[in-house]
């Protein structure tokens, strides 16, 4: 033991190497935090900059509108992010949103027992997602095909069940949730903040979240380390469907009804939010705080762009270009380069 002590208490020798800027452990954390910070910063600057377009922009009111609209995307993107974390991709979120919405209006409606039935609807969504997940893990169907197919199947079932137009209205509980206020702040915004914090902790700090990271990072090693690879992987799809189903409910509360295409607008953006937020599309790396930033950034962008008085073609081009610029700013290489530059100047 004494010899080990010697090794560790030998500052003179090891400092030589460390002093050369070997502060990797700490710097990494910063790089990740900085990425997240920069996303929020870009969103914030966009809002401020948009004053040029309209004096009503940049107001608290506008920020609330953006957060309200972003709340849908944030929730779907959480599930999508978990699936991406385990090397998958969930193309069924659109249909799962529809499933949640359709079941909410058809089963609960304006005067059903919402408190009892909402968990039931969510359980159905979770089960549907779990089935996709098991198709991926036990049948070995590639996630892309599995979720695309299960999405088509769920949509088709909704179509058959509703005969094309979903009947029924929004439960009052959901309407209140989506349009109510809490201490002068829209309830959804309060929910959004709580959800963002809770889900970030869930993904990054729980045993489950850690295990998902590991499975996504190296499934073989995860199996060798004794993790329940397949159960964990399948569960991520279940959670994703659950989130999507809940977004279906939120949309019912927001728009006072369900339509079969209500989820379509969220598929690509949910993936985009996750990736812009710094997660790797190849799995194993992801931080939900970044995803929330990505979702808010995307929503801010579309909100501002829709207010520009230009031909749709130009608006679309501007949207794409700003996304690309944001991605360029968010590259990790850029931080490393900046860091190195700063480091050099200091020494």
């Amino acid at each position: 033991m004494t010899s080990q002590e010697d090794r560790h208490s030998e500052p003179a020798a090891s400092q030589g190497f460390e002093a050369g800027g070997d502060t990797r452990g700490r710097n990494r954390i910063e790089a990740e935090t900085v990425t997240v910070g920069v996303i929020y910063l870009i969103a914030f600057l966009l809002i401020l900059g948009s004053r040029v377009i309209s004096p009503a922009f940049g107001s608290l009111n506008q920020a609330m509108t953006i957060l309200e609209l972003a709340s849908f995307l944030v929730v779907v993107a959480f599930g999508q992010g978990l699936v991406i974390l385990v090397r998958g991709l969930d193309l069924s979120v659109a249909s799962m949103i529809t499933l949640g919405g359709v079941l909410t209006t058809m089963w609960i409606g304006a005067d059903g027992n919402a408190l009892l039935l909402i968990p039931l609807v969510l359980a159905v969504c979770f089960a549907a997602g779990l089935v996709s997940g098991m198709g991926v893990t036990f049948l070995g169907v590639p996630p892309f095909i599995m979720t695309l197919s299960s999405g088509i199947i769920i949509y088709s079932l909704c179509l058959g069940y509703t005969k094309g137009s979903p009947k029924g209205a929004s439960p009052e509980l959901l309407t209140d949730f989506m349009s109510g206020e809490l201490l002068g702040i829209p309830t959804v915004v309060v929910f959004l903040v709580l959800f963002a914090v809770g889900a970030t902790l869930f993904q990054g700090w729980t045993v489950y979240g850690r295990q998902l990271h590991a499975v996504g990072n190296n499934p073989v090693a995860a199996r060798f380390a004794g993790l329940r690879v397949r159960t964990l992987t399948a569960s991520a799809y279940g959670v994703s469907a659950l989130c999507a189903g809940f977004v279906g409910m939120m949309l019912v509360g927001y728009a006072q009804g369900a339509t079969l295409r209500m989820g379509d607008d969220y598929l690509l953006p949910s993936i985009a939010a996750v990736v812009i937020g710094g997660s790797s599309i190849l799995g194993g790396k992801g931080n939900f705080a970044g995803t929330v930033g990505g979702a808010i950034l995307l929503t801010t962008l579309t909100t501002i762009i829709s207010a520009i008085g230009l031909a749709q073609g130009w608006k679309t081009i501007i949207e794409g270009v700003i996304i690309l610029l944001a991605l360029l700013l968010l590259r990790e290489e850029l931080f490393t380069a900046v860091q190195r530059l700063v480091g050099r100047q200091n020494t």
Binding site: R7, F17, R28, A221
Partner: protein
Amino acid sequence: MSLDLRAGEIHAILGENGAGKSTLVKILSGVVAPDHGEIRLNGERFAPASILGARSRGISTGFQEISLVPNLSVAENLLLPRLGKGSAGLNSRRRTWDAAGELLARFDVTDIDLSRPVRTLSLAEKQRIEIVRALSHARNVLVLDEPSASLADTRWLFEQVRKQARAGVGVLYISHRLSEVRSLCSRGTVLRNGRSIDTVDLGGVSDDEIFQMMVGRSPDTAFPERHPSSISAQPLVDLRGVDAGQIQDASLKIHSGEILGVAALEGQGQRDLFHAIAGLTPVERGEIRIVGEPAHLTSRRAAMKTGPGIAFVPEERKVEGIFSGLRTAGNIAISTMAGCSRFGFVNHAIEQASVAKSAEQVELQPRYLGFRISELSGGNQQKAVIARALQSQARILVLFDPTRGVDVGTKQAVYKVVREFADHGGAVLIYSSELPELVHLCDRCSVVYGGQITEEFTGAEITEQALIAGVVGHRGDQPAVAEAG
């Protein structure tokens, strides 16, 4: 850091894990650009910007973390990035095979099928292909980073390296096996914390002195003592006529308090034997009893959960061992997370405390715990994988070549932990490609040859000569069998 290498010289680079050996290799091969300083090759300035740049100047490298592409065939991997061209200017399979076959023949590799995707090779086979590729491009300098780490039989390697040296190529040879270095190299440069401490004539210094230079302290070379008396009569693990993968009719017992070694050349089925006990290869026939009860080791998890618990250190660190995106602490704790949490949330205080303990056992410096594991040197990654196995409260420890790439000093620490583990009533099964390790560490040692357990030695019977004879299929009680593997 400075170093001079002469033509025709085999020059050793020595240093503890994380000293910067691999980094030096990467600089030489154009993968990493140096911050300061310059390299001169035959007197000319040499600043390679890529592997190809280095190759064009006759410098070629065999990397520590095998750099073959798993989905391509052996032949293609040998020739990348330019495959054999046919008449139409397109790649021709036959030309590729011919050219690659020539290479294999030139470097005396006869037992690896050119058409096999590298994915299906064993680690040792991959290592040999990696070496052949390096050999094939070496005109001026050959750099080999721990080429022998997973080779049970190093004769082939030594012969090839010497041949290169005789042809005037300067060889930089990195290994943690001092005996190897001594028999191969004339001079050696010792690195510590990224600096070259000294270049010495290996003939003129003792192991202790080298060690002193490497880590700045005296070595602790004694193997831990055996305690044959503490071995219980009841086996903890009892294999009865097990068929699994390449393994046929394997029977063996591991008692608590005992370290059972397995000696074998590459690819004799020892991997399946270990995997069967770890729950990774299904048992097709026969049974495995744990503490006398038949056990169904249908998955890794089942094996971990079974009565006394089975911990496992896998062979291929990069593929089966590490989670490159996770921090080192997370890597060590991943199998035992439930014990580090409160209400499903990871409790950092508990995690840090428990991880720190096993990290210390394998001499992994605490400062590395916060790093992403991909930023650690190969040896330090290996230490983390061993630490993970130690973390679990298992009483059965299955180690497949655990000290691969681990520096001399740390090896002793690992031996000590393993022995302590046995002394506390655990059972250890260990395979090693380094026979001396088995000789000094094990209470008993089995030999696996051709998918079967052919021999078993106990206590003083375990000698290098006996094991070498055994692993090549030459049984003590039988006339010699000519071929080896």
